[in-house]
């Protein structure tokens, strides 16, 4: 097989395995400690499973050539279907677990006060309505740019 086809597929397969490992672990912990105890992991999972799904379908369309785009194959339908989850799921809840506020605000260092200022500013950004902020803009906020 051509390596231009092979490498991306191998990467996507690896990512599938990674997401699956987190999925099984989270499902196991949900069984053991209750369904609502793993909200953060579920948020991470939702974000990455949907992203991976769209990436894999995009690659499948590419590998299949023009036929992947047609309705002969299921890929374009599935892509449209699962692209929606990145619109409806992501902004509301699924990024909360993967957001810096969750990483820094709920972890030990922030609670002990070392990163209190950063955590507070991230919280303010979230309240103002910019939503979950990427790491880059969080650093800018900490330097006083916003």
């Amino acid at each position: 097989m051509n390596q231009a086809i092979q490498f991306p597929l191998a990467e996507l397969h690896t990512q599938c395995e990674m997401v699956r490992a987190l999925l099984y672990k989270t499902a196991d912990l949900m069984d053991k400690r209750g369904a609502s105890s793993q909200a953060e992991q579920i948020a991470m999972l939702n974000l990455w499973a949907n992203r991976l799904c769209c990436d894999a379908l995009d690659r499948a369309i590419q590998v299949h050539g023009g036929m992947g785009y047609s309705r002969e194959y299921p890929f374009e339908h599935l892509y449209r279907h699962h692209r929606r989850y990145r619109i409806t799921e992501a902004p509301k809840r699924s990024r909360r677990g993967a957001s810096p506020a969750s990483c820094f605000g709920t972890m030990g260092a922030a609670r002990e006060g070392t990163h209190e200022r950063t955590a507070r500013r991230v919280k303010i950004i979230e309240i103002v309505g910019l939503g979950p902020v990427p790491f880059g803009s969080m650093l800018l906020a900490d330097m006083g740019a916003t």
């Binding site: 397969h13 499973a49 949907n50 299949h64």
Partner: protein, 43 residues
């Protein structure tokens, strides 16, 4: 209680997405293996 259902639905949705991702990777591999380009296979 409501949070429980939300979490269960969301992990179910993540699992569905993962299944679709795995299916499309498998289908791509299968297709690329049988595809013939300019008279010979792609490998």
């Amino acid at each position: 209680m409501a949070l429980r259902f939300i979490n269960e639905n969301r992990i179910r949705q993540a699992a569905a997405s993962l299944g679709v991702a795995q299916m499309s990777v498998n289908a791509s591999v299968q297709y690329a293996q049988k595809r013939i380009m300019r008279g010979k296979r792609w490998r």
